[in-house]
Symmetry: D3
Subunit: 248 residues, 6 copies
């Protein structure tokens, strides 16, 4: 493990993470999160009421939408609104974000309110979906605080059961690495995204062999690394939420 990474990190080290709250004056919760050069703008929008299929259930709903700005990557991509349809990857990540956040929300305590988490990638350098989930959690927490203050959520109810964060791990040149930047991601044999709650349990494990399939020992090493990374991110989320923010 003496190999030094492109940016000088150790294998089990996150990139520099920044979490800025109160970035939008309109949204009930908003966060600009960066994992190194990856920057994602996450907003949480609260509306009273729930989708039709959930009406009368007494339970709320939380969902996510992910998108990349056309020039968030090295080469400009076509806007999905111009193409007239959403690509498979966008759908897949939007669904992942929604599922991950619902894992830490008590929908009964939320009551019949809907929260939409919009995660727009401003600059991409690997790990956009994990940064999105990690930032969206903080925006969600702010939105829920807002909803409690506005009495949309009944007094004494806490819809959040714990924190949730996500990180990528992968095997590059035989070494398991935490939080891959784009250049590492491209070279990785195996790529895994892991979503963990604040109490160290798993919400999602999505591992894919890009080239060679991976064996059980490699899988175990990656899971260890990811669990550690998520614990570090949970601490950063809690720090960010402890700070005072002046929103317009």
């Amino acid at each position: 493990m003496a190999m030094s990474r492109i940016d000088g990190r150790t294998p089990e080290q996150l990139r520099p993470v920044t979490i800025e709250r109160g970035w939008s004056k309109h949204a009930e919760g908003s966060v600009l999160i960066s994992f190194g050069d990856t920057k994602v703008f996450c907003t949480a929008s609260v509306t009273e009421g729930v989708p039709r299929w959930r009406k009368g259930s007494g339970e709320g709903w939380v969902t996510g939408e992910y998108s990349m700005l056309p020039r968030s990557t090295n080469t400009r991509g076509d806007r999905e609104s111009v193409r007239g349809k959403i690509g498979g990857r966008t759908h897949e990540i939007s669904r992942l974000i929604g599922r991950s956040l619902r894992a830490v929300v008590d929908c009964k305590a939320l009551g019949e309110n809907t929260i939409v988490l919009d995660c727009d990638v401003l600059q991409a350098d690997g790990g956009t979906r994990t940064a999105a989930i990690t930032g969206a959690y903080v925006a969600l927490a702010d939105a829920i605080t807002w909803a409690r203050e506005k009495k949309l959520v009944r007094a004494g109810r806490q819809p959040l059961t714990t924190t949730v964060a996500a990180v990528s791990v992968g095997i590059v040149d035989g070494t398991p690495l935490l939080d891959l930047c784009y250049e590492e991601d491209v070279r990785a044999d195996t790529d895994m995204n892991v979503v963990c709650t604040g109490d160290g349990r798993f919400v999602e494990v999505q591992g894919t062999a890009e080239a060679e399939p991976f064996d059980r020992a490699e899988l175990d090493a990656l899971l260890d690394l990811a669990a550690g990374g998520c614990a570090d991110l949970a601490a950063l989320q809690n720090d960010a939420l402890a700070r005072t923010v002046s929103t317009a």
Copy 2:
């Protein structure tokens, strides 16, 4: 583990699996696979040439498309062709099928040929994506045999490096179970799809906590179960391919 399952299986038992080859007179490979009441029709279509972005590389391409017939489920769903767009789940599974099969294909040995695996669900009872991958492998193997006979693949090259199969596992009422039927799937706290190669390595691990997040011990139990199930499916795939088929 004394609990008996809805259909009387033991926790580590697959549903009855049937693999019928040669179901279409047009396709280069075609399979009707059933995992219990789940029935998927898989066809492999070979065309010379590759998508534009791959031209001149000397390498082939394998991709998948998944779809459910409108009345494959208990309630009729709208056709995606009528709605004019493809849902997130369809995209996600189509991409998974393509990735899983490419993991066992040597694209250089395939040469500049494209194989499309269409997986149409005729009847759904849980595990449609895992049955699709398992059946698509067999259709792919037949299509490659056809391509070798037609000399599209150069003599002495074998594009298939091993077999690939997939199975679902999940935790129902605290017990890890193999190959969930729909009724079990609905009740599962955690749901995981695992894709393994014939030599026991992992291509994809996709685990999701539907309700409670899962801990590391549960994750390990599920991975053990899935690896065993995939090994059983690999044996069934090899048996099916060893039989003689009369195609029109």
Copy 3:
């Protein structure tokens, strides 16, 4: 008329027809029908209520949707769901199926229920629309029996007024032929699809000159041939419905 056809049939002979009921455990009626190598899977889905424009009329509604699996033909076609729009031919045939079945349904007797007939072509070898209509009738009959047992249709009401079947006819090398297979269809100068009720009357007559226009005598010969073919199909439909089927 001494000419022998590609498959040895006489000019006025149908291809071998099979009608398997109960092919789906979910649908209220389901049939796998084959006209030679043409195989169509027909399901009938019953829902209470009718489209908005028909509400309060006391009358039911029956409609059809036709689709071809991408590899049902010799060359793989793009999925219409992927292209994001439905082609003209698909629309046209879907509408034909709906009209043909409504011709034998007493919508008042059906009451405010909707039945959708999905006809998915698994393998195409000419005559897919005529096989679809013929099979859909049988699926519809089973669905109506189900609806009567469930008391969705009032006691003593019989929504079906008679049977309905369809067959293609065409002029190949100057000879009028019944039930064209793909190879004959391609070579036909004139192609006609005829839909007849069980009492020998016409619901639809759609004749098209593919090359040379046809004169009145040729038209009369084709109509005779088609009427005979539909009578044969009506007998096969009645036979199929007389059999006992064990559906899940």
Copy 4:
């Protein structure tokens, strides 16, 4: 047959037909045709070259597009461009127009040129598709004259083999009637559109039982009526083409 029709016509009488050529200064052929209150604007656009699938064949291509202005009917309909998809009826009629005109075009004599017939219904009162075909033929004839003058069609070649016209027939209150207006069309038990060439042969016969199926004797009566109507229309087409037109 003593019954008098809504507008006083005899059963075998066409509505007043007007054919105005040279209605557009841009199109190579253009016609405003009226069948009573039904008014259709038909333009023929010639372009050199053919669709990709036909390149190198030495043969031309003729196709049609049909559309209704939103307020061509009694109640305003949504524009198909706004809905983002074309309805089944529009597709079906566009295809019918193309097929009907191709029946009288010698594609080899046309050479590798494409002619698109746009038929836009300005006012609808029944029989829009038959007026469209009848008017489109005249626009096509003018466009072909233009193409011959421009030497796009080789000297001495005549791509038109004969004329083509279309008319509707139907059974209203037991009486077969020619060229139904909207009010008659709504009340008809059976509705049939017939396309005939100038030499009295059939290109298309599309009969549909709207309510009661029809028997063979009724079918024969309708075919007689339609053949007579098409002969009358052919005379009117020839008269119109014999007139001198001053186009800008």
Copy 5:
């Protein structure tokens, strides 16, 4: 200003304008307007009720839809219904038509009724949007008269506050010109569309430098020219509305 224009007009002269009312038997108001060779068919459709977001306000709604027939121009364009989406220019002009007409409608006096103005360009030779607005006003006036007669608009209320008309102006070879035809429009350095009410005030001013930006003096000259042209058009609108029309 001695330069003579392509068609011999003086710089401040409109093309010949014709306004024919009662062109459709279905629409509540309908006009065929021509500005020289530009011909636009405008229909006004009245429906009781308003869009959902306006319900209960007691106020009506007026909106516009603009479209060009595919062969209204020199080269045939694809239909937007076939492409499946509406282009930017079409959207922009549709919105402009709606805004322009709403400027002279007292929505309270109109009551909860909706009027849609469909403007379909039959032949284009420059100035299609200005002809559309000018003609749509006349169709709107007829539709409002109809609505008052049908008592949809309460007695004594007059929803129209004044007339509205539109004209293009532009700088060609240094000279400001009124009502550009296509050939002038193509050569113009600056192109401006101006919408004025009958009392000489401005509703819309849309000026664009196609090549060289324009200075304040040029802008002033164009505005003078446009105001004069709109006054001329208002007189023609009033003349047309003063005539008696026999609608079917």
Copy 6:
């Protein structure tokens, strides 16, 4: 003019404007511009080559795409990519941005290169299109500097002829105001967007009466105000471009 504005500005005062360059490490030019609380992220993407219709002309092409993040406004809007089509307003503004920038680009000097300006609104508080144009100019200038350094633009050629900026003006409670914030915009009777070059000439003038039409004197007052605002913005653009920026 003693009235004080919501935020204390004088009628002819801009909101605080900030222009941050180098905000993206991927784009050839990138700017975060704010006009008060309106924040727009503008990127310029350079690609060699031009659209097909411009190939071989020796001239370049510049185009714009405008979009609002779903929660850039007070109420969350649906993503246009999810709705599957782009709204009229988005199209209109995208086209305006492209036209405005092309007014100051010498396409011949640019050579056959394409520059796309993406303007994504992160937070909206009135004037998003004017901020977009003003910021896009700065991003464009940086991209052109990059292209000259990369020798994509020939030595000695300067594709930019001058600067371009845009500002809104409007009449609120009878007073003409510069650079409206959202709250002023909602209350304005007349709303005008003006695009001016650095030498004080007009590229676009788009004035709309939202309620009462405006007379010539009001129009003149608005044009004066806008010209002054654009001159102020041009100075700010030049200041921003004079600063040194460290881009990754």
